[in-house]
Amino acid sequence: MHDITTHFIRRLREREPQAWFELWETFGPILRSQLRRWGRGRIGPETVQDLSQETLTALAGAIDRHDPSRGARFSTWLLTIARYTLTDEFDRRTAAKRGGGTRPAALEGLADPLDGAPSPPAAYEEAIFDAKVAAALRQVERDSEFMEFAVFRMRVLEGQGGKHTAASLGISEPTVSRRLGAVRRRLRARLFEIFSRYSFTPEEMAELERNGIHLNPNKQQEAGLDQAIADIYPRSCAREATGARP
């Protein structure tokens, strides 16, 4: 496991609020979407919201017992905890219906939530990958000047031409290229950092290259970053927008 990952897990184990917030910001939407899917209309948006928070609370308990040497993927680990949280909620509801009060949380007695967990579906793995890319983009937005990221947004995320971007923002085309280059460099570094943080296995790390994003690209691979981001970003937005529309 990468040093960044172990450092991040240490931060989580030390209950550092910022680390938890990062985890929540990056994977909260996926957890909510997954919980909604499993709930199949039986749980409302408020419950989904509560459950996704409970998932992170449960995760706080599980992180101490997590054994990274077992080679499980980060995504599988997260999903399993979410599933236990939902199962626990349904058990609680059934118990409440019977008038028997609440059952203790299922995770409390569990040595490691990965025991016997089935492999998550491909769509979920894709969502996790996209969430990591989105987290890198968010971080780059924070690191960049507004105009720099505006150029990147228009050129890469929205697919506008360089000429149009320059005219629209009132800057020259060479400035557009310069700013775009600066954001690209930052994005590569952030992508590597984020993927290192949220990957437990080398296979998860290799997903970046499989999707056309190289840390040290040659000339041919250079253009692949824009294309890869341009593919991933709308896919990720469309996924979240499905849950956002009334």
Partner: protein, 696 residues
């Protein structure tokens, strides 16, 4: 010939018999088998259905019987506890157990109903009979408003009209009408005096908690100054405050309808203009909040009420003073709350250590996004805009939701950009580079919708890029760049000083100079309201009605809506105009009225005579108000005329919005000169009428 034909016929008959007969037989057999299988299938389905029903009946009967037994057992345990606590006078605990018993009794009732009626009815396939009682009725009862009045439903000086659904704050909401004495007192104190109010009431013995009360009460003084709260009262166990009632629909409902009309195509230009006007209303209100040192903290579509074409920000539940020494909390609504605020709250910072204005602006951007896109920004600042939206408007959304240091600095700055888009001939042709915040152009408020500048317009940037850039990270900057920046700032400062004080110094009087100097921004509606009070006096108390006469073609419906609102707040019944009744009904009302005040458009000199004709024989036309649109959009005037029969004609002319009197600087010299000329012309006209014409 004949024998061969006969032979042919024979062959044909033989062929028919040998081929067609077996085919017919096979067809018949297949149909028979099909029928048999269908019958068998139907029988199996019937049997399966019956078995399923029977199984369901048995299962439900067992489950309900067990539930009934469980409830009986729990009651058997809880009842002695409740009785015991009553005996030892522990009322809180007794109440607690009493509520538990109530739940158990409800459980028993449900189980008994299902055992006696529900399950047998379902067994017979007649579940539609009981569906209403089992499903719809409980929902109906749960959503019914609370009973009127009650322990905390009686307030001095108010007549309770109804209850409103409570929000998540644990308070009870009442719709009420203030008594005449109360209204008179409010007017005397210069407070808003609406005809209907909402009373938000907290009481410790009604389940409210002390933190809720403290949270709600901490910003009320400032909210009162803004006219958002009429009064508030706090004692040892209860607390309530009174706000003007804004009837209307929540913004999310309005937006959903707009998007439902057009589907995935997005908003049409008219709807786009409408949502921009809602966003402008919000930003104007936010600017007032921020200038009073308040942070609303819970801006979301459900907290905006659309009434007569205007959006009103409601719910003061999370309002926090910007300079509060309290620790920042994560309260707010997800997707409309800046994630950065959550991050800061988790760090444990104090409220005064963060810029709450920026967080409100994030929410305003998120709200604008949701109006344009028809969904909430699930991806935060990275949310994609897929529906038709001008590029410049997208820029505004992006900048308001962007990183906190590069975000708009004030609601005024964002409002200037938004109004530039709203006032563009074709918003889709406007580029982000044309926006004031990017180009650094000063904002000519008089050209931006006539609603005046916000209270805290940001200082205009001398050049686009610096206003959007973050502060340099290191001190080792390029000297040449610093020199250029300093030069630009110098030019800007020189221009500003020249513009404000020097340009017309030789010819301008001191008062004119003062008038051109940027003055303390005012709330134009309050000025307008003061004039309405002066002109209409006690007419409302005497039962006068106001008739708005076909103004829709001449006057911006938003302005008319605001006027209508002002009049209704004074207790007038307003007929006609936007949202008003039709002509026949107007005439009917006018005919029955003893006093009336007419409101007429600019090209309708016969309005007074027409109104008088429709009045009852002993009716009196108190006067007529003309709303006149002059050549410039901001100089909408208000003219009050008394009919000759009731004394000399008195008219006053002034700007309804309080900004058309030439007191506002207008940027380029030509505009300034034009404004001065217009102001002197208006002042002359006003003094010619009655000497009170106000350059207010």
């Amino acid at each position: 010939m004949i024998p061969s034909a006969i032979a042919l016929m024979k062959v044909l008959v033989i062929l028919c018999v040998t081929v067609a007969l077996p085919v017919a037989l096979i067809w018949g057999a297949v149909r028979f088998l099909q029928g048999t299988f269908w019958l068998l299938g139907a029988f199996a389905r019937l049997a399966g259905g019956l078995f399923g029903r029977l199984f369901g009946f048995v299962r439900d009967t067992i489950t309900d019987s067990l539930g009934l037994c469980g409830a009986l057992l729990t009651t058997a345990v809880v009842l002695p506890l409740a009785v015991l606590n009553v005996l030892v006078w522990r009322w809180d605990a007794a109440g607690h157990y009493g509520r538990a018993l109530e739940g158990e009794l409800e459980e028993m009732g449900v189980a008994l109903w299902r055992l006696a009626v529900g399950n047998p009815v379902r067994l017979l396939g007649l579940e539609r009979l009981t569906e209403g009682i089992e499903r719809r009725l409980p929902r109906l009862l749960a959503s019914a408003p609370a009973a009127r009045g009650g322990a905390h439903g009686s307030f001095d000086g108010f007549e309770i009209l109804d209850t409103l659904p409570a929000g998540g704050s644990g308070a009870r909401l009442f719709l009420a009408r203030p008594t005449r004495d109360k209204l008179a007192r409010w007017r005397q104190d210069g407070k808003p005096a609406p005809g209907r109010v909402v009373i938000k009431s907290f009481a410790l013995d009604a389940g409210s908690t002390l933190p809720q009360i403290v949270r709600e009460s901490r910003a009320l003084e400032a909210a009162s100054r803004l006219g958002l709260v009429c009064e508030h009262e706090l004692d040892d166990t209860a607390f309530h405050y009174v706000m003007p009632y804004v009837p209307g629909e929540e913004l999310d409902g309005v937006i959903a309808k707009l998007h439902a009309r057009r589907g995935a195509a997005g908003l049409c230009p008219a709807d786009l203009a409408l949502v921009m006007s809602y966003a402008s209303d919000l930003l104007y209100t936010l600017d007032r909040f921020h200038s009073e040192g308040l942070w609303h903290k819970d801006i979301k579509p459900a907290n905006l009420i659309v009434s007569r074409g205007r959006a009103h920000l409601v719910d003061l539940g999370l309002v926090t003073p910007l300079g509060s020494a309290m620790t920042l909390t994560t309260h707010g609504t997800e997707y409309y709350r800046d994630p950065e605020m959550v991050r800061m709250a988790l760090k444990g910072v104090k409220v005064h250590e963060v810029d709450g204005v920026k967080f409100d602006l994030y929410s305003a951007g998120a709200l604008l996004y949701s109006m344009v896109e028809g969904s909430f920004p699930a991806h935060g600042s990275l949310s994609r805009i897929t529906r038709a939206c001008p590029e410049a408007l997208q820029w505004i959304v992006r900048r308001s939701m962007g990183e906190v240091n590069t975000r708009y600095r004030s609601a005024g700055e964002m409002l200037a950009d938004l109004r530039t888009v709203a006032m563009a001939r074709d918003p889709h042709l406007l580029k982000p580079a044309d926006l004031p915040s990017v180009s650094g152009r000063t904002v000519d408020w008089s050209r931006l919708g006539g609603l005046g500048p916000p209270r805290t317009t940001a200082s205009p940037a001398p050049h686009a890029a610096p206003s959007l850039r973050r502060a340099p990270r290191s001190a080792g900057g390029v000297p040449a760049r610093a020199l250029v920046a300093a030069g630009l700032w110098g030019l800007f400062l020189y221009g500003t000083v020249d513009f404000l004080f020097l340009a017309d110094a030789p010819s301008a009087s001191a008062s004119e100079r003062a008038a051109r100097r940027p003055h303390e921004p005012r709330d134009p509606r309050r000025l307008w309201a003061r004039h309405l009070d002066a002109d209409l006096g006690s007419a409302a108390a005497e039962g006068a009605i106001v008739v708005i006469d076909e103004l829709g073609e001449h006057v911006d419906p938003r302005i008319l809506g605001a006027l209508r609102e002002e009049l209704e707040e004074r207790g007038f019944e307003v007929l006609g105009g936007p949202g008003g009744e039709g002509d026949e009904r107007e005439i009917h009302f006018v005919a029955g009225a003893r006093r009336a005040v007419g409101l007429a458009g600019p090209d309708d000199p016969g309005a007074v005579a027409a109104l008088e004709r429709h009045l009852a024989a002993d009716g009196v036309l108190q006067g007529a108000i003309w709303l006149t649109v002059a050549e410039e959009p901001e100089s909408l005037t208000y003219r009050f005329v008394r009919p000759r029969a009731h004394g000399p004609e008195a008219a006053r002319t002034f700007s309804v919005l309080g900004i058309a009197d030439g007191s506002r600087p207008r940027g380029p010299a030509r505009s300034r000169k034009r404004a001065r000329t217009a102001a002197s012309q208006r002042a002359a006209a006003a003094s010619a009428h009655d000497g009170t014409g106000s350059a207010d």
